[in-house]
């Protein structure tokens, strides 16, 4: 394998730079996926049938916690990539672990939120609005769950194999994914929660 040392480790082989470009294109597809979900949500937002409206069910506290946790995790993984570029294996691992813990915290609050919705009678079947809401949030949540497993696997690989072009590449791509989820969340926060509560 040809290694080009003038580039950061995650770009250093041809295969690596292919993977990063490929992942950017994948994120393009993901943007379309969430854009479609948002389009559906905005279309169905006011079609609440006999069910509750957004203003009636949204609660600011858990949402603020979720936002805080996810935004912080996105910052921390940035630190992790920085540490990786400096070649500091231990710091990379620490930052990655914190990221995953924050992600798990986010997920905890989200699960609480879902249970709460179901409790007060806003289930998947209640109305077009609740279906669109829970599907959009759920898709984001599923991405986070998948990300947690993926991140954990990468963490184990860094521990076992060190910072090689391969693990560096995986970590970098994972960080792109994680930032992306964060950005999607900012849209969810602004256009679903804030807009809904106003």
């Amino acid at each position: 394998m040809k290694v080009d040392n003038s580039l950061p480790l995650e770009y250093s082989t041809e295969e690596n730079s292919l993977k990063i470009l490929g992942f950017w294109i994948f994120l393009g597809a993901e943007i379309m996926l969430f854009a479609t979900l948002f389009a559906v949500y905005f279309t169905l937002e006011n079609r609440i049938g006999n069910g509750p409206s957004g203003a009636e069910i949204f609660e600011i506290t858990p949402v603020l916690f979720e936002t805080f946790l996810l935004l912080t995790s996105s910052f921390v993984i940035g630190l992790g990539i920085h540490a990786m570029r400096l070649g500091n294996k231990k710091a990379t691992m620490v930052f990655f672990s914190i990221t995953l813990l924050l992600g798990a915290g986010f997920l905890g609050f989200e699960i609480y939120e879902f249970v709460h919705y179901i409790h007060i009678g806003a289930t998947l079947q209640t109305s077009a609005f609740t279906a669109a809401l829970l599907t959009t949030l759920g898709t984001h949540g599923l991405h986070v769950i998948l990300g947690l497993f993926w991140g954990l696997f990468i963490l184990i690989q860094i521990k076992k194999r060190g910072l090689t072009p391969e693990t560096a590449n995986k970590s970098f791509i994972f960080s792109l994914y994680w930032h992306f989820l964060d950005i999607v969340w900012i849209f969810i926060f602004s256009f679903i929660y804030l807009k809904g509560m106003m």
């Binding site: 393009g28 597809a29 996926l33 279309t43 049938g49 069910g51 079947q125």
Partner: protein, 649 residues
């Protein structure tokens, strides 16, 4: 008992039992055959686990041909049913299932794999690369697509086929009006195949952007590669919409959500809109690569550079953007008001402009060319007028006020077949004939090939021109029969005869393959058509590494310049080549998807959970796997090269 009832076909007939028995026998024959000739190992090593883009391409091709025949039988059954008034060959439910599966099979499981075959086989060769960017993902794409196809076809014998049209509009597609599991198959099988398509879209874009031979700037790429690039960009933007749409449809049917229902806030028109937000770009995904193939063929056999290279590229870019802003033309009559209709009318008609540019470019390429009338060229020359006709009726349909007359009549059916058959199907057959010698080392018979093209065209005209007339006279589409008094009988009979003639042409195509396998010369060299681009610069059969030395390119037709103008293509010397290893996990993972899909269709939740875990385990396994591929040594390459050169003489 309840549980088992859902597996039965809802309204069995002699035809369905016959099909079950013949499918069963065919499967048995295949399994026995493979076992008898001890080919399981070969199949596993050389095909199922392969990551070679050429072999994956050929598997796409085989699937496409198989589905062409499945969809063709559906077509003949429909035409026979309609050939006489009050015919009782198919009852209305059965007719619904047949036109639904015909549409899906032809578009998603015939045309899509056919173009993906060309993407796979040609892109790396045309850009002078050794494989696609992600060979293993490529295998995964194929197997996901294949399993989706398999699942969809299973519906016919287990549980019943979808019957709400290939567009599957709600509320018709909900549990109340489509009570069998057929529409579940639709939602889930297409989802699985669609994910495969999305992954291969990402793969091909990366390949084209990053793996071109030195010297090949974007504006020096062969036209087919350009068309493939743009089509795959459309794939990446359009298919996620389908993913979301099908997921919501699945939830409505299986979990009782209210996305597309008519109460609790649900909105049935949301389905129609999103379906066509994907669906219209989808038809351009099909036609653009067809345009690319015609460009290659026309410039090869006019013995000229393609006229207007830049405008060809620009027109495709414009088409790809416009394809996303015309979707409403599929339901002008469904109540969006005059302003919306007018806007979409205009955007739709505007697409005719870049398409017209392309038509003129092909004509100017032919102009003053030294035209050689080979079979691929014959198809291309037939394509130009026939496709133009379809385009003109398309513009007629685009006029929203007039569309109230044509919508959902046979006029529409005639229109889209008029663009799809001379546009896509001809391109597929022309391309297949053109690239056949590259793949298999012998040519298809030219005489039979030309007969096929003419017979197909006569059949096509007889079959679809009458539909324009009956459509204007008010014959509705998707109706299983009509009365004598309607006066459609004569023209529908003509149409049936035409369909029969088309069927003969497809049989002839198969016969041609058989005939050529037996009698065609194997001594044809690697460039039998005197062609122009890189795929012809390597040996036939193509070695697994494609090019021993990566070519260097200076124009859009590097190989032609090598032959005629002394351009030196292979400057470097042979070095060891890095190749990916074969892998079984794409296939295994796709098998999990298949079982997962089946269990979803019938709501067998334990199996759904187990297979989901299986899929995740496959992904985890892949994450931890260490596989750095292997090297082909210089000595090995030199031996292969010497052997291939010897074979070529």
């Amino acid at each position: 008992m309840e549980f088992f009832k859902q597996f039965a076909v809802p309204h069995p007939s002699f035809l369905i039992y016959g099909a079950m028995v013949s499918i069963g026998l065919a499967m048995l024959a295949i399994v026995v055959g493979i076992t008898y000739f001890k080919k399981w190992g070969y199949l596993w090593r050389e095909w199922i686990t392969t990551v070679d883009h050429k072999r994956i391409g050929i598997m796409y091709l085989l699937t496409a041909l198989l589905m062409l025949f499945r969809g063709g039988v559906d077509a003949i059954m429909m035409r026979y049913q309609l050939s006489m008034p009050e015919n009782t060959f198919l009852d209305s439910q059965h007719y619904n299932e047949v036109f639904t599966t015909h549409g899906i099979v032809m578009i998603l499981f015939m045309a899509m794999p056919f173009i993906t075959f060309f993407f796979n086989y040609l892109i790396p060769l045309q850009i002078g690369a050794r494989d696609v960017a992600f060979p293993r993902l490529n295998a995964l794409s194929f197997w996901l697509f294949f399993m989706g196809m398999g699942l969809f076809n299973l519906s016919f014998i287990i549980g019943g086929s979808p019957d709400a049209g290939w567009t599957s509009y709600f509320p018709l597609a909900n549990n109340e009006f489509s009570p069998t599991v057929g529409t579940n198959y639709y939602m889930i099988a297409i989802q699985i195949a669609g994910i495969g398509t999305l992954i291969s879209g990402i793969n091909f874009i990366t390949t084209i952007l990053k793996m071109r031979a030195p010297g090949m700037s974007l504006m020096k790429m062969p036209m087919f590669t350009w068309s493939a690039f743009i089509a795959n960009v459309i794939v990446v933007f359009a298919f996620p919409v389908l993913t979301v749409l099908l997921a919501m449809g699945t939830m409505d049917r299986l979990f009782g959500t209210n996305f597309f229902t008519t109460d609790n806030g649900g909105m049935d028109m949301l389905w129609a809109n999103l379906f066509w937000v994907w669906g219209h770009p989808e038809v351009y995904i099909l036609i653009l690569p067809a345009f690319g193939l015609y460009s290659e063929i026309i410039s090869t056999f006019a013995r000229r550079n393609l006229y207007g290279y830049k405008s060809m590229v620009a027109s495709m870019v414009v088409i790809s953007v416009f394809s996303f802003i015309v979707w409403t033309h599929h339901f002008f009559t469904m109540g969006q008001g005059a302003l919306t209709n007018s806007i979409f009318s205009i955007t739709t008609m505007a697409i005719a402009i870049p398409t017209g540019v392309k038509i003129f470019n092909w004509l100017f390429t032919l102009w003053k060319g030294k035209i050689v009338f080979t079979t691929p060229m014959l198809y291309s020359v037939l394509f130009i007028p026939l496709f133009t006709l379809g385009g003109v009726t398309g513009v007629m349909l685009a006029m929203s006020a007039a569309d109230y007359q044509y919508h959902n009549t046979m006029f529409l059916v005639a229109h889209f077949h008029n663009v799809i058959i001379p546009g896509v199907v001809y391109a597929m057959i022309a391309g297949l004939t053109f690239y056949w010698p590259k793949m298999f080392g012998f040519m298809l018979n030219e005489r039979i090939g030309k007969w096929t093209a003419w017979i197909m065209s006569i059949g096509f005209l007889l079959s679809f021109m009458p539909m324009y007339i009956t459509g204007l006279d008010g014959q509705a589409r998707r109706m299983s029969t009509y009365s004598e008094a309607a006066g459609f009988s004569m023209l529908n009979m003509v149409s049936f005869v035409g369909a029969g003639i088309m069927a003969i042409s497809f049989v002839l195509l198969v016969y041609n393959i058989y005939y050529s396998i037996r009698y065609a010369s194997r001594d044809i060299g690697s460039d039998p058509w005197d062609a122009r681009s890189l795929e012809w610069a390597t040996h036939t059969p193509v070695p697994e590494y494609n090019f021993a030395v990566i070519p260097e390119v200076a124009s859009t037709q590097a190989f032609w310049d090598t032959k005629k103008n002394g351009h030196e293509l292979f400057k470097g010397k042979i070095e060891k080549i890095h190749m990916p290893n074969n892998s079984g996990w794409p296939f295994i993972m796709a098998c999990f998807f298949f079982v997962f899909g089946f269990a979803m269709v019938f709501s067998i939740w334990p199996v759904v959970i187990v297979t989901l875990i299986g899929i995740l385990v496959c992904m985890a396994y892949r994450s931890f796997e260490k596989d750095h591929g292997r090297y082909i040594s210089v000595k090995e390459i030199e031996e292969t090269e010497a052997k291939l050169r010897g074979a070529k003489k």
